[in-house]
Symmetry: C2
Subunit: 230 residues, 2 copies
DNA sequence: AATGTTTAGTAAACGGTGTCAACTATTAGA
DNA sequence: TCTAATAGTTGACACCGTTTACTAAACATT
């Protein structure tokens, strides 16, 4: 964070670098990120970038944080443009948004949920809050549905005591106003959707299941029933 | 594939290179693979490796193929050391083996199911057969359970027609001796397990769910019921 | 035993990379 | 106008995958 003459210009440069970085990653993969290449596209030499990002890894961190918030916003938007009382519809659209984000902005998605980047460890104090943000969107629709009597979650006695304890910790730590069974539903849903999306994203499904989009819809419809959405 | 004086020595060198490559990947990530580094560890210069692998990508392909077969063997072993008629137990142990493989041999698992390596495209004619191999292990226990009347799969009318068509294609193409609903169960199971494992592997669960191992067991137990194993 | 051929490896080089230190314009303020 | 900070450059270092040309050792044949 060097002293800056014009904040706006500085921010524009910051964005320009990140945009070019994303473009480069989407062509060549998340871990082939060339500072010299970015600099070249910007008509500038490589060391100039060090004024904006102390190192290649700091640039990556910025991209990850951006990715998380973008995903959170996307999910929120999907949730918002729906009738509040239509919990099945809201949940379905959040899941669809999750999938679309993964496929359309696969660079961001891979940065968030894919292989860790070699030699790079995300600073937890930066990323954890954003993880929560994504997670929260999922939770809200579950909680609201339950409170409205539109969600019949799995009874708590079907959960392992340690898992119950873990879920209780989340609830108290993040002050989520709900019970363990509802919280569990969030994870059951997330893990399922994530599995389908991950396999589709890396093309492990298309050679087996035919139409992956319809397969997703199929899984989603069944999942909604299993989760106890009424 | 150059002419070789001593086949055994050649194969030993091949294995040594791959072993060092895996070691390097497990320390630095799957995409930071340095031929020069491997050569250094072997007390040899970098171009010498080109006698064994035409390029860096061919080395990666070899590692991926190894990973697939290792995973398949692991799952087969897990299936084998169990009573044949205990279908719930067999399926559970296969899933546990899948998870353990992901966690213990995470390099191989990431090579198979993780982000593609920048600039590298896996030759399909090499990898697809091995994909089938892994998939087959999952299928067998489903088919045998169904034939023994120990599996009540989802009725076919709950599946989208296009998904049914896709599953029928797999069945005929790979000559799997079973019906669509059974085949569907395999995918429902795989996607779920894969999601949980993927999230645990990259540490997205441990900060939320407490004990990830027990969470897995929990999900597994519920899944087995949902799939219709009797 | 001497010769020619194949094998296994080396040395040098090319163009690429992230990063650092030192230096130079340009700009802003006193 | 002079000073100080900013925004960049140049040049270097050590690394990378890969290619080309070359060498030393081992083998087979005469």
């Amino acid at each position: 964070m060097p002293r800056v003459r014009d904040v706006q210009l500085y921010d524009e440069m910051l964005e320009a670098i990140k945009t070019l970085a994303r473009a480069q990653m989407s062509q060549e993969g998340t871990s082939s990120l060339s500072l010299r290449g970015i600099a070249r596209d910007l008509g500038v030499t490589a060391p100039a970038l060090y004024r904006y990002f102390p190192s290649r890894d700091d640039l990556i961190t910025a991209l990850i944080v951006d990715g998380f918030t973008a995903l959170a916003h996307t999910l929120e938007a999907a949730d918002a443009n729906h009738d509040c009382a239509d919990y099945r519809g809201r949940f379905a659209d959040i899941c669809r948004a999750y999938r679309r984000f993964a496929l359309e902005r696969s660079v961001d998605f891979q940065l968030i949920y894919g292989n860790p980047i070699p030699g790079y460890v995300a600073p937890k104090e930066v990323t954890v809050p954003t993880v929560i943000q994504v997670f929260t969107v999922f939770s809200i629709v579950f909680i609201e549905a339950f409170n409205a009597g539109k969600l019949k979650p799995l009874p708590q006695d079907r959960l392992q005591p340690t898992v119950v304890a873990g879920l209780e910790q989340i609830i108290t730590r993040n002050q989520v106003p709900t019970d363990v069974p509802v919280m569990y539903g969030v994870f059951a849903a997330w893990t399922k959707i994530h599995g389908v999306v991950m396999l589709e994203l890396f093309h492990h499904l298309e050679q087996t299941v035919g139409d992956t989009a319809l397969f997703f819809e199929n899984e989603l419809a069944l999942l909604i029933d299993q989760l106890g959405f009424l």
